[in-house]
Symmetry: C2
Subunit: 206 residues, 2 copies
């Protein structure tokens, strides 16, 4: 009896976490971060409001865990095609940037929540979340290594973050409503222009 | 008497607008957009809450007008030094990007509010606000014209927006807390690397 309870309790906790993560993901996908309310989550997951805080430290942790899964899905979508010869490095960087844009278009509110959410009280983002981000930057490492064979790995890691940030800027100002609206083809062309010019300019420098 | 009233009324309206804009700016600079409350603004400006809506359509307009002034101050800070020979085009683009980063560092919450604010009900940003943005992009036009003498003006305008967006991405992910923290010198170096590689790559293409 005691044994059964001790094996079941973690399962029930894991199931409740799963139901809350799924309800939270749906709430953000439907109406953005401001649509995430503890009371609605508890109702959707069939638990008391207080039970949320038995399985998550706070709503910030729940939001970060949802973000972590968004990043994992993005990394999966962007992963290089399995077979075939290695593509030209600049073509591969364009493919990754374009994949990022497509993902942001298709999952706009979940993607926006990744950047909009801020931890209350100025707390630092936990290391497990930063590792999820690093797995994304790491996708840029192989094409950057082919582009710049002489570049040491730490410098490549900096370039990956720089390129990701620049691509993110074009995608985010292109998709959000703060600048003049932009036709989809123009945004696609801007992104390709950025990545190709950056890649060519880096090679020049080498 | 009637005449006096008719000349004074616009003055009083203009003064109230000014006091509300100034109170709003201080509230955002002190605690971000979420610190902007109609009740506090009215108290700071010495008017009734309802009087705000006599001089602004709504709080969205007030926020956009504050943003417009932030953009004007940024454009002023970035304007090219008056005298002396034209600098190298890439150096001038680096100077502008660096000026943008410095402004964002110095006025972090006012700068963040420019991008964080979204109009309620999916309304489009008014054209006067887009013109303020265009004045900023226009600062990139002269160095881009020197860099790419053969490029037609509409293509240069697209490049200015692409470069601004890319620079904004590096600045914004570098200054916000969502990615691993970054020392100031590393961010400065990333930004310069982005602008120089992009400029060199564009010249290659020409």
């Amino acid at each position: 009896m005691t044994e059964q309870r001790s094996t079941n309790k973690p399962d029930r906790r894991a199931e409740l976490r799963e139901r809350l993560l799924s309800a939270g993901r749906e709430a953000i996908a439907a109406g953005g971060l401001q649509n995430l309310k503890a009371r609605d989550l508890a109702a959707a997951a069939g638990c008391a409001v207080g039970a949320i805080y038995n399985v998550f430290d706070d709503l910030d942790e729940l939001i970060l865990r949802i973000g972590s899964r968004t990043l994992a899905r993005l990394a999966q979508v962007l992963a290089a095609p399995a077979a075939g010869p290695s593509p030209d490095a600049a073509d591969e960087l364009v493919r990754l940037a374009r994949g990022y844009l497509d993902f942001a278009r298709a999952h706009k509110l979940l993607w926006r929540a990744l950047f909009e959410h801020r931890l209350s009280g100025g707390r630092a983002v936990p290391s497990w979340f930063l590792e999820d981000q690093n797995r994304l930057f790491a996708l840029l490492d192989a094409p950057l290594a082919r582009l710049l064979p002489g570049e040491p790995a730490p410098a490549r890691a900096q370039l990956a973050r720089t390129l990701f940030s620049a691509v993110h800027g074009v995608v985010s100002l292109g998709l959000e409503e703060k600048l003049a609206p932009m036709p989809a083809e123009t945004l696609d062309a801007q992104l390709e222009c950025l990545v190709r010019a950056f890649a060519a300019g880096l090679q020049d420098r080498d």
